[in-house]
Amino acid sequence: MARLLTFAEIRAGRITRLSLEALSRCREIARQRRGSTVAVAIVSDNPLAHFEELARYGAEEVFAVTDTVFASATRTPRSAPLTAALAGVIKQAVPDVVVLPSEESVKEILGALAIRVFAPALPDVSGFDVLDGAVKAQRPVFTAGFMAHVRAEGAPVLVSLRAGSYAACQNPEPSSMRIRNVPFAFDEKVAGKTLRKVVKAASGRIDLSETSVVVAAGRGVRDEKGKRLIEELAALLGAAVGASRGAIEAGLFPPSSLIGQTGKTVSPDVYIAVGISGALQHVAGMSGSRTVIAINKDADAPVFRHATYGIAGDLYEVLPAFTEALKQKASTGD
């Protein structure tokens, strides 16, 4: 028996897919451990808007923190009120395990939350299991060079989960949920911070952790023409566009598309690496992908050591033909 609590992060008005993956994993654990319960913490100026989706993903209990400080246009950076809100939920819900999506917003506060609720934290895990009074997890470490098998004891144990580690599954029937409103008061003055400006990434981009396919560009993509080729392939696949540091330094892709040790971790069904050399720090962010297709003109590029299928060739020649061939194959329907 375990009391599981997840945190549903909201971005651009929607619960992130990674949060739903965390919730789905908790439901799976609850099914295996009889008598377990799955609750969700939600922190928003309007949590109500997300209840239906949480029910579809099988939440049994929702701990809602409602405050305008969590509205999108606010002068208070989210980290301090979010830490306070989650600590409040944990106090009320008394969970054995808290599972959070390993996104930048969570990475920024996980340490503070662990101190505040006096809990051990297992950050950025690629898998976890709940035991009696403990959590066992796997964490890629050393720039994803090794897998650490870790164990933490206590209640609660805080866990943050990497994107794509588990599938997000809806329930056949929406669950009936108990809603708990968690009291919350936050004094903006104590935060010591005011948000001056938010520099938005270009709108209309597909979130990297939301899709089954990622097309990632490297320094080999050197101009607008190359960028167009990447975007055409991505559009055909409904894929998100990612980038290596090389491509971002070239100024062609926004910093939020960085994949790797510094950037985001993705584990899509298919990862297409185009003009990327395959540096350790990049591979750290994509090595969990199920199928990897690498296109590189250097047949000895390290990226091929991390690929399922390799295409040695100039991306400016390969991509147009590849996208066309894929279009053909898909439309002939075999």
Partner: protein
């Protein structure tokens, strides 16, 4: 913008630039800041590390300054070059960590404190088992900083060995100070009445946030903040005369426990299949995604 890394900032920084002009203007009036960087020595992830009975054998490799801490150090030094002030360093780790402190001293840090932990674990090869875990490390640092004066504590956003990234926020929480994580730019905010604020640009999940934060504060730095300088001969020679203060502390007790049970190799991939023109296998793998296509977002 201090130590801006090409391309890694969203394009719309013109308004931000205007703030910079103000700094120059009032620079004389505001007191210099004292920045302290927390640095860690880690095995070079590019060096040959081998698994031995569930431990990572680092003896064949070399130990280096954690790359994110190198960026924090560079960011702090560049900050003081721009606005005045001084940078000091703190390292928690075994006696061998001294080499890493020499490195940051050679980069331009003025002095260093080397905190060594008594009774470290028996098996030094079992890195990072031999080092205090994040909460212990944060506690050791907090005890140290409680007796220090400073304006800014700058840490790397994570260590390349544990890849955990917990210590900076833990430290801020223990000290009761405001914190910003994953910073990509540090500037001084010279807003007349109170010149003791920073402007920190942080890379979030989608956007970049520019936040005004009061000092003293803690920030954790991304390597996208700046490329660390390579110390020159003058810096290396000068570092020899800079003070390193050694402190011996006990391992904090009674903290929530996280244990590494063992390390394993990462699940490998079968050897790559190089495809010839036509690329049938790759096309086949992708066709299902063209047809159904995930829901548009």
């Amino acid at each position: 913008m201090v130590g801006l890394c090409q391309g890694l900032h969203e394009q719309v920084l013109y308004e931000h630039e205007a703030i910079r002009v103000v700094h120059g203007f009032i620079r004389q009036k505001i007191a210099d800041m004292k920045l302290i960087v927390c640095v860690k020595q880690v095995p070079d992830v590019a060096s040959p590390l081998r698994l031995q009975e569930g431990c990572i054998d680092t003896s064949a490799g070399r130990m280096v300054l954690n790359a994110y801490d190198a960026s924090a150090t560079e960011g702090a030094i560049a900050f003081t070059e721009r606005y005045g002030g001084e940078v000091h360093a703190v390292l928690v780790g075994p006696p061998e960590g001294r080499e890493t402190l020499r490195k940051v001293l050679a980069m331009g840090v003025a002095s260093a404190v080397h905190i060594q932990v008594k009774d470290r674990a028996a098996c030094p090869e079992a890195v990072p088992n031999a080092l205090p875990e994040a909460q212990a490390c944060a506690k050791i640092l907090a005890d140290h900083f409680n007796k220090e004066t400073f304006d800014v504590i700058a840490c790397g956003k994570q260590a390349q060995d544990t890849d955990a990234g917990l210590t900076p926020a833990m430290l801020a929480e223990l000290l009761g100070l405001p914190f910003i994580g994953n910073a990509i730019a540090l500037e001084r905010d010279g807003n007349g009445r109170s010149g003791n604020h920073l402007l920190v640009t942080r890379q979030g999940d989608a956007d970049q946030e520019i936040t005004r934060i009061e000092t003293p504060c803690v920030v954790s730095c991304s390597n996208n903040m700046c490329d660390p300088r390579i110390p020159n001969i003058k810096g290396i020679m000068g570092a020899r005369n800079k003070p390193i203060d050694v402190k011996i502390v006990s391992r904090p007790a009674g903290l929530p426990g996280v244990h590494v049970q063992r390390y394993e190799a990462m699940p490998g991939r079968p050897r790559v299949r190089m495809l010839e023109e036509g690329w049938d296998k790759a096309i086949e793998a992708l066709v299902p995604f063209v047809k159904g296509g995930p829901p548009a977002i």
